[in-house]
Subunit: 221 residues, 2 copies
Amino acid sequence: MLRLTQSEENYLKAIFTLSQDTEGAISTNELAEKMLTKASSVTDMLKKLCEKELLEYQKYQGCALTNEGKSHALAIIRKHRLWETFLVDKLSFGWDEVHEIAEQLEHIQSTELTDRLDEFLGFPKVDPHGEPIPGKDGRIESVSNRILLSESVVGMRAIIMGVEDDQTEFLQYLNKIGLHLGTQIDILDKLNFDGSIIVMINDKQVQFSITIAKQISIKPL
Amino acid sequence: MLRLTQSEENYLKAIFTLSQDTEGAISTNELAEKMLTKASSVTDMLKKLCEKELLEYQKYQGCALTNEGKSHALAIIRKHRLWETFLVDKLSFGWDEVHEIAEQLEHIQSTELTDRLDEFLGFPKVDPHGEPIPGKDGRIESVSNRILLSESVVGMRAIIMGVEDDQTEFLQYLNKIGLHLGTQIDILDKLNFDGSIIVMINDKQVQFSITIAKQISIKPL
DNA sequence: TTGAATTTTTAGACTAGTCTAAAAATTGTT
DNA sequence: AACAATTTTTAGACTAGTCTAAAAATTCAA
Ligand SMILES: [Mn+2]
Ligand SMILES: [Mn+2]
Ligand SMILES: [Mn+2]
Ligand SMILES: [Mn+2]
């Protein structure tokens, strides 16, 4: 079994995540930005991960994970999301407080631990941000009939199913306006000129910019 | 707040532990053996930790933790023992399976997490090996009327309270002979020439070498 | 109390991960 | 197609942690 450093694992995870919404290879700069580091550091790491056959990489052509690399990334994401669930469900942390801690816990090496944690939590399907939790086998069950709030239409009634961004400030903002997983909303209006969406949450009107609306996923009722 | 690397934390913990049963300073070689590393590496690390005022160190004179260093060490030991308790009490691991995992978990940085875990576990006083768990304030409650099995006298009846060694093979051996925390034993005999102790455990006779007897702590009834 | 054995430190090297600055390759634009 | 802008890689340096081999200090024992 190939043993990876924390840094290597963080790169794999970042590449996997970026690949989710990008066609083709991931560029060095894109990855540098995501990793909050410099392109030259990324190049060095890509060479190393390519050497270990976790990704394919050719000079100036960006990179793409191999199956091996993908399954490593999924194992880390599985751990991250299980630990976040543990922190919220068992230790009563808020959904805005768990990401940084899970960022460390995801690197604990023990498949046995991960699988027992999964069982202890009752095999949860999604984490506290509504993100699906990969199974033991690395498979992600597709989450059903979700759309982004940005794609909603006026008059729709819907349930909040997830957030695409788990940054503390964003989640704290959502807390402040009373928006949680499972919250019911009504789409009241959309402004043509900037795409803003006006929503009713617990009898209060809230206006979301298109940027925010793209970070929230809902299930129409 | 001073941020330490995993390696620095492991050194502090080792120095603390060695200091428990050694008078005066800890020597470079002693520490090298404990850390499974070379004396030259230890010297480098001692310089660094001295620089950070976590220990006092003078060339050729060994080292001793400062109060700052001690409280860091205690915080790591607290985490280690709480996580071991979590693994055994909540995830049903055996006491022989948890040390390696806790060796990693003890480095997770979040006082909030540690304190909530403590609460979730019901503020346990001892870990699965009978070792006391330091409190939030770093204080260790002294464990009452314990002696080592090696110091027992023939005819005594006692309860197993702890083990001084948490190596997997040792604990597995204890499992095999049916010795756990809380097990009741009778001291049947002591052999003068090698110090072996013959003990009755669950109606079976078992003979312990003096080496083993020094690793087991008991409470006489 | 002096020489030998042991312990400890230093010197120099290596790996992992990062950085800055400069060079090279690619991309885009006229 | 040529040149400019942008992206990416390389070269060289730095820190942390480790190692081996050699030098220095301490300890031990005759
Ligand atoms: Mn997260
Ligand atoms: Mn991480
Ligand atoms: Mn342990
Ligand atoms: Mn450790």
